[in-house]
Symmetry: C2
Subunit: 437 residues, 2 copies
Amino acid sequence: MKTVVWETLSDSQKEAVLERPAISDGAAIGDAVNDVINLVRKDGDAALKALTMQFDNVEPESVAVTTAEVDAAVARLGQGIKDALQQAYNNITCFHRAQKPQPVRVETMPGVTCELITRPIERVGLYIPGGSAPLPSTVLMLGVPSQIAGCQKVVLCSPPPIADEILYVARLCGITEIYNVGGAQAIAAMAYGTESVAKVDKIFGPGNAYVTEAKQQVSNDHKGAAIDMPAGPSEVLVIADTYANPDFIAADLLSQAEHGPDSQVVLLTPCMAMAEKVASAVSEQLTVLSRAEIAKQALGSSVIIIAEDLEECVEISNRYGPEHLIVQTEFPSELLPLLDNAGSIFLGAWSPESVGDYASGTNHVLPTYGYTRTYSSLGLADFSKRMTVQKLTPEGLERLAPTVETMADAEGLDAHRNAVTVRVKALQAAKEAREEA
Amino acid sequence: MKTVVWETLSDSQKEAVLERPAISDGAAIGDAVNDVINLVRKDGDAALKALTMQFDNVEPESVAVTTAEVDAAVARLGQGIKDALQQAYNNITCFHRAQKPQPVRVETMPGVTCELITRPIERVGLYIPGGSAPLPSTVLMLGVPSQIAGCQKVVLCSPPPIADEILYVARLCGITEIYNVGGAQAIAAMAYGTESVAKVDKIFGPGNAYVTEAKQQVSNDHKGAAIDMPAGPSEVLVIADTYANPDFIAADLLSQAEHGPDSQVVLLTPCMAMAEKVASAVSEQLTVLSRAEIAKQALGSSVIIIAEDLEECVEISNRYGPEHLIVQTEFPSELLPLLDNAGSIFLGAWSPESVGDYASGTNHVLPTYGYTRTYSSLGLADFSKRMTVQKLTPEGLERLAPTVETMADAEGLDAHRNAVTVRVKALQAAKEAREEA
């Protein structure tokens, strides 16, 4: 990891240090993904089977995973991992249940009542990547909020063979529609539907460049599906003072670096000695990791920044906007009110990123690549939508009528005005009729 | 308006009746907008001035509107419209303030605390269209929540000359950065910044096909800006039973139809006599409207659907997912729990759409074109973002450690496991040291 001293940098050097590497998504991926989407829309299940053979080199008996297959997976799985997944499920459920919104209902004027109500998104699709190891934790992060939100249809796609752990968590989350399909073809299947795979309204979950591109493409088509958020490589930023434990920090940096060669790792500290201790602890811990080669590549583009003081660390962090932000200082909670633009924040020495990745209760699907400025940590809200409701009494309408009529006049919209006037006249006529009687 | 009887339709006819007209956004618009964006990125203010001359045929003295110009606009404006705008501002403020989220903080396990915190989006851009009449109501709908959320920088762009009403509302909402620029060039300026116009993180507001395309393009570029929601033509759907007043319904349908020739208008009723009365009231009211020609075109592609009963009306409405949903039935609140997929709902005879368009307190920026299935009515949440926070005590970490270690093993992520293990070992070592002492 290279070390830079912030105050010695020019503005453009500062900009360059915090710059993320470009994602090389080029036109080639776009065209390839477009072809896959068109094929799935045209040939449905047949396309899914052919593409699965081509990309995953397996031919599942059917696109859908059967209940018997899930039963068998559950039976095969050891009790240790079952207990761990159950504990994580419990914690994630606890935190996401606490996110249920309070109903909003106010009388803005006497007789004018406005409400904000929430409804689950009816049909959601969860994408779980395959790859070197199964990711049951991602099933928890997507499955638990879909279950709490009350989505009626929850579809899960993952490249075959689907690991027992994934099927076990799917069952914990009440997901019964599971399909042996991965990659861009899975996104296409969920966005448009096939004979086997139900069309959904919104697609969630991480994936490689092809999956990301497919999500982008289907979300730009109004007959496709909405998506959770734009994606980018995973990142961690650690703010540390002299009170931090360099071994802990090194372990945190490495746990991010092992995600992939494009992972971003940043350490911010006002203490040069701490920077040196962390760098040496990283080198030491690296030697025993099974994914050392991946971590080494990630560390190549990572950086330690020496700042003036903790305040400047906070400023730089807010400017970078990391996905994961770990604060290892003497009084971490004191910095919290100043922290902005982060996906998830880990306070203090005993809160490593991996607890949030798995089991503290927070969601590990987070905005990255600078999207923390505008996007939120995935949560219950992403599986529902908010609608407004208004109900006026006759008196409420009479009270509000002059305002609406004057504004409609100003905007030159006669019919908008008339929708109020016709009602006020009816009320006045009724009143006069009563008075005459 | 054509009338169809739902039960006589085949499945594909039903689909066709509820189909929105295709938006002809073709490649031509895409290329033109892309050119404008590139020009603004290259030439900044100079490009804005040239494009404003080209498209709006005016040459403002400066890109920025001065405080003196706003002062003059405020002085010119009549008291009647000021009072109306102030009343609308008060009601919209009341309802959006009520949307402030409750803090979420739970202990998912003893010693494991998780929080959901909210931060304003730092820099937002508001786009206010020009055209035949000024739209101060849209400034209210975007300006009020940005003010309540506490966004630090709020930029407003609108094609010159900017109406006094718009400048007045901008001042009510505390907006001081106002620019004489409209169209795709305004979106480009806010997404990337120019010498005069500050770059923002997220852009809000309606617009024509060019503005919509520009928003889409900048939101697909991670150096651009996020946007509020995808756009489509405005829509209303009315559910009415025999107790409804056909004159009121006709006025509501027309207030939607006058928006534009592509506006969508649907009436759902189980009562054929009501359908006929509404159709005849529409013809009658149409004759006196200043925007009758626009309304007539919109009505050409609109439809009255005769359903079996109110339950079927609800089903069809949920399937269509209207932007505005007006319920004029004997007991409108009883239908509310069944209603899904709508932007804003207007309950009962005294709640015309125009009260929500202007002043009841609800927001008039709503998902349309079927996006109600997944997108929310614009609200306070769109001007902020949610971050999660976790803090573990040493005991909390020890309690959670076996879960995280087991899951990290299952996912083959050594370093994730190690970030926990290194801490647990340190705690054990400290405990042993204490015991020895």
